[in-house]
């Protein structure tokens, strides 16, 4: 075993997921004027996600953070590089084999309203992932959905209602509960706090911390706005133009940012 492989093996012990050399490009649009060439969204990205930790991927619009999040959530296939999850190389798995891992890695979108089926009740929204996982309709499925609703503070009386009547913060909690019903290990939040009211953001931060402790979850937050997410971070990776330009423990990066982009992002999140 070479030194590199040994180091990688040690890293894997602490890490739920390790990514090496991830690259993903998109074709330039017809109106982009590029004519057939490809635009790199992420370039040669290495990332270690510590088990039970909270990693924040931060950057401006177009920095590649959402693409990276989607690659980690197995919604995009990178063109190059490796994603090892608990020792298994995911980039080479066939679609069918990926299904198991998709259950363990859940992505939560910014506006959960658009991902909630308006014809479902809140209870049906919560039961759907269990149905896909093969659980038959009945008392057990209903009980598991109700238990998860209670975990995020959704009262039982809402289970028969339409999700259309929920506020932004309530929909976000429903999306979190839905993801939790099938017991994931890794949750990736794409701008999940952005745009919510301040008091709701604070509630969500508290809820996520509690859930993380209770279920031993690992979190990745994709965001452009550090103001609230910094209360959840223990590792930060700053992205610019498809690359990670600074990374480190949250306390160090926030106290002594080195890269100019980190400083700009922190300044934008400060009040006054």
């Amino acid at each position: 075993m070479g030194a590199g492989a040994a180091a990688a093996a040690i890293a894997e012990g602490r890490h739920l997921l390790t990514a090496r050399g991830l690259t993903k490009t998109y074709a330039r649009g017809r109106f982009g004027g590029g004519g057939g060439d490809r635009l790199p969204a992420i370039r040669d990205v290495d990332l270690d996600i510590e088990s039970g930790g909270s990693l924040v991927l931060v950057g401006r619009s177009g920095a590649g953070k959402s693409t990276l999040g989607r690659c980690l959530a197995l919604l995009e296939r990178p063109e190059a590089g490796s994603i090892r999850y608990r020792g298994v190389e995911l980039t080479r798995l066939a679609r069918r084999e990926l299904a198991t891992y998709r259950r363990q890695i859940q992505l939560i979108f910014q506006d959960p309203g658009r991902s909630l089926n308006p014809r479902f009740t809140v209870g049906e929204v919560l039961e759907e992932p269990l149905a896909i996982a093969g659980l038959r309709p009945g008392a057990e499925r209903r009980a598991r959905a109700a238990e998860m609703a209670a975990n995020v503070g959704i009262p039982e009386s809402w289970l028969g209602r339409s999700p259309l009547g929920l506020s932004g913060g309530q929909r976000q909690r429903l999306a979190i509960a839905r993801a939790l019903t099938i017991r994931p290990r890794l949750m990736i939040f794409d701008e999940s706090l952005t745009g919510l009211d301040l008091s709701i953001q604070a509630q969500t931060v508290n809820l996520l911390r509690e859930l993380q402790g209770r279920f031993g979850l690992t979190f990745v937050f994709v965001t452009h706005d550090l103001s609230m997410v910094r209360h959840l971070a223990n590792v930060v990776a700053v992205m610019e133009m498809g690359e990670i330009v600074e990374r480190g423990p949250a306390a160090e990066v926030f106290d002594a940012p080195r890269h100019p982009m980190t400083r700009r992002l922190l300044a934008a999140a400060a009040r006054g």
């Binding site: 401006r60 301040l198 009040r271």
Partner: protein
């Protein structure tokens, strides 16, 4: 300039503004429950409030753009000597875009996708000022440079879809300012932008407004955005202003229990992550249902400092030392 001892006539004076949304039968559901404030020439007022507090309805009412079902049930809005609420639509249209401009959340919706952005801006000068197109075009090119486009000629010919969100919002700012209005009403114009781009946009807007002496009413749910651009801050809850004062005073020492609770939810400024294992403060409960407002102070059910009299009637905004007004029995109740 000589100092004028008489206070200048405010650009905008809103008094006891009440707005409701009707559902056909029965009385309309109140959304604004008596809002009053003044805006001096060149002054920037930030309105801080959470979803559903009525801040967007306030903007739409001032612009005369309430959606169908929306109804002003009481109050006055005076703008540069006009009674805006009584003005016929044709005259209001002549004011909008010329003296009274707006910037909305989503720049894509404010721009016509079929027209080159330069022509859209030039249209305003042709319509409102009767300028010839050539003169309007050269003025727009100058303005595009002032909103920091490096190549105004190229931008002038671009279509909205060819621009990024931040570029589009700068075009919308140019459109709002091209006729040098007395007042700009902005509803969360940075909501669709990333934090860095939003910060740059706010700084640009602030400096252009200062140059033109244009007043600003800016509503947002984000105290960080308001802190960087407002001279004064108003905190809104359940359709009423609960506190109004100088920006620094309100942010550093909010008096109204809701303002205190809301600002406590915001993380401390500065890059410090040490206190992060303590739960963040939140506001228990939720805002009242507008269809069934409580008889007293709307914040009373959630307030830690509530007293028996709070549930009797809503407190008026009362004047406090400094340029501060607070609607809370803790601070006296005489009308300011």
């Amino acid at each position: 300039m000589l100092h004028d001892p008489r206070p200048a006539e405010p650009v905008l004076r809103v008094a006891d503004l009440r707005v409701g949304y009707g559902a056909g039968t029965g009385p309309p559901t109140p959304v604004l429950g008596g809002v009053g404030f003044e805006l001096a020439a060149g002054e920037a007022l930030g309105v801080l409030g959470e979803s559903g507090c009525g801040k967007s309805t306030l903007c739409l009412t001032l612009l005369g753009l309430l959606p169908p079902g929306g109804e002003v049930t009481a109050g006055t809005v005076r703008f540069e000597g006009h009674d805006l609420l009584a003005l016929p639509e044709a005259r209001l249209r002549r004011l909008r875009g010329r003296r009274l401009a707006m910037i909305f959340q989503e720049p894509g919706l404010a721009l016509n996708p079929c027209l080159r952005v330069g022509e859209q801006i030039a249209d305003l000068l042709v319509t409102h000022r009767g300028w010839r197109r050539r003169r309007a075009r050269s003025a727009v090119l100058e303005l595009l440079a002032r909103v920091r486009f490096a190549d105004p000629q190229r931008l002038f010919r671009a279509y909205p879809h060819q621009l990024s969100g931040g570029q589009r919002q700068r075009v919308v700012i140019a459109q709002a300012l091209v006729c040098e209005p007395a007042l700009v009403v902005a509803d969360e114009p940075t909501a669709s932008l990333d934090a860095v781009t939003g910060g740059e946009l706010v700084a640009l807007l602030r400096s252009l407004l200062r140059d033109l002496g244009t007043a600003l009413l800016f509503v947002s749910h984000d105290p960080a955005v308001l802190a960087s651009l407002a001279d004064r801050l108003a905190v809104m809850y359940a359709g009423r202003l609960v506190e109004v004062g100088g920006r620094d005073e309100v942010l550093a020492d909010p008096l109204h229990p809701y303002a205190r609770a809301l600002l406590a939810c915001a993380p401390p400024a500065g890059p410090d992550a040490r206190g992060r294992r303590r739960p963040l403060p939140t506001i228990p409960g939720s805002a009242p249902d507008p269809a069934a407002p409580p008889p007293g102070c709307a914040f009373e059910p959630r307030c830690d400092d509530r007293r028996p009299e709070c549930a009797l009637r809503p407190p008026a905004l009362a004047r406090r030392p400094g340029d501060r007004r607070v609607a809370c029995v803790l601070y006296g109740e005489e009308e300011g």
